[in-house]
Amino acid sequence: MTASETRAEPASPATVPRAPSRRDGIAWRLLRLAVPVVTLGLLVVIWQVAVDTYQIRPFILPRPSAVWDALIENWDTLSRSLWVTVKVTLSALGLAVAGGVLLSILMQSRWIELGLFPYAVILQVTPIVAVAPLLIIWTSPNTQLALLILAVLVAFFPILSNTTAGLKATDHNLLNLFELYGANPWQRLIRLKIPSALPYFLTGLRTAGGLALIAAVVAEFAAGSAGRGSGLAFRVLESQYRLQTARLFAALLLLSLTGVAIYFATSFISWLLLRRWHESAVRREN
């Protein structure tokens, strides 16, 4: 390589000393963690003080410490329900990924796309909660199956539409190059189209992860299932009926944490797969 050409970024980290960056330091990382934690602590303190000062009745707004107590007290029931909801959400996400990716690859064929895509859209724009009663009749007495189907239906579309868009957005010059070197359709799919669709798919996955949880909860509201096999949504309803607001907050807290965990997991998968090459995962440096 000639000196005249190294005008952009140093190419190989091995050959060029790394520029010190304050954003790499441990102190910086701790600070990034500390700021939201401090915010949370402040919020909890204000909440606790406000409830005490204004004498808010506990069934309207319980003190944070009461929520914590309710969580500990009801941990057996709540953790079992959490597990039910997580199971529905993750299986739905898995099935939606498998189905969405498979279908978007099949929809590479124009005829299959023409035949199926309008119905995929109809499925997407129909409020799924409205379908719930019907599904519950069909799958009765297995309510869990109805929940799973509903969550799959909701999570499926973002995967399908994003992956389809990604497969279509393949660089035309690279397609020409593959044609020039005699690539067969299988090589074109595996080596070119799927990698270029990957960032799009991952965007779909992040959306679908959140939607799968929402769908699992909303579907359970619609189903109103009770008993030992119930998920967190039912615990929320149950607490509402009994005016156990602290327990309701505890169930909500678990749902939020599940959502956050799914968000971080899908973001991490995305970062892992794209960090070397995709602009969305690489830090901008000027």
Binding site: M1, T2, S4, E5, T6, R7, A8, E9, P10, A11, S12, T15, D171, N173, L174, N176, L177, F178, E179, L180, Y181, G182, A183, Q187, R191, L192, P195, S196, L198, R276, W277, H278, E279, V282
Partner: protein, 277 residues
Amino acid sequence: MQSARVSETQAAAAMPPRPRPLVRMEGVSKVFSNGTLALKDMSLTVGQGDFLSLLGPSGCGKSTALRIIAGLGGATEGAIDWPVANYDAEGRPDRRVSFVFQDPTLMPWANVYRNVRLPLSLKGGGGGAAHDEIMSVLEMVGLAGFAKAYPRELSGGMKMRVSIARALVTRPTLLLMDEPFAALDEITRFKLNDDLLALRDKFGWTVIFVTHSVFESVYLSSRVVVMAARPGRVFAELEVPAGYPRDPDFRTTGTYAELCRQASETLQAAILASVRP
């Protein structure tokens, strides 16, 4: 077809007799699906060892002609003939062609090594035997230390070198280049021009080089074919009598200046002849 031969006849006569041509376009026309007549009745004979530049204003069909020779999108009329190639059982010529696009056209998810390996692995031969070959072409383009780098970590000139390395790895007989250096700064461009000439001397390729730069075409080529637009066609041809190897000193010679002047005038005439619709 308007074809004015501007070349010095003595210079042409002094050249040794040519062997059978490598590729011949005969009366090739191309109409795009939107009705545009991109090429009209283009005939061109490319001899083995030629360095032929297609020079012309935008829209003159030079890239289209290159793609048709590469087999990307067929001709609407006319034929491409490969007199010296072997033909397979289905009548397809073994063209041994490599293509360098205007963009580096690298797979962003693959590192330099895997990008260069692509043509080999598509033919099922990306294994251990290919390793030496890949490293040797990376060495040739001066990127041996960058095998593990990803395209986004490279400068524009380095990406283009990767693209050239990928074209070299199949050991082509004909190299098709579609304005490969157009997007680069002049310093990088001059350097890559010299590198290209050196590699050509080493391997004896035939090159068809699309450009809109008069200076680049004269510096590199043995033949400059000037094209006109609307419809795309061959307008004139200039021989460049200077032999190879060439080095940067060629740029300062009177011959070079005179040829550039001629090529410029011919290009101007071609632009005037490219009537607006």
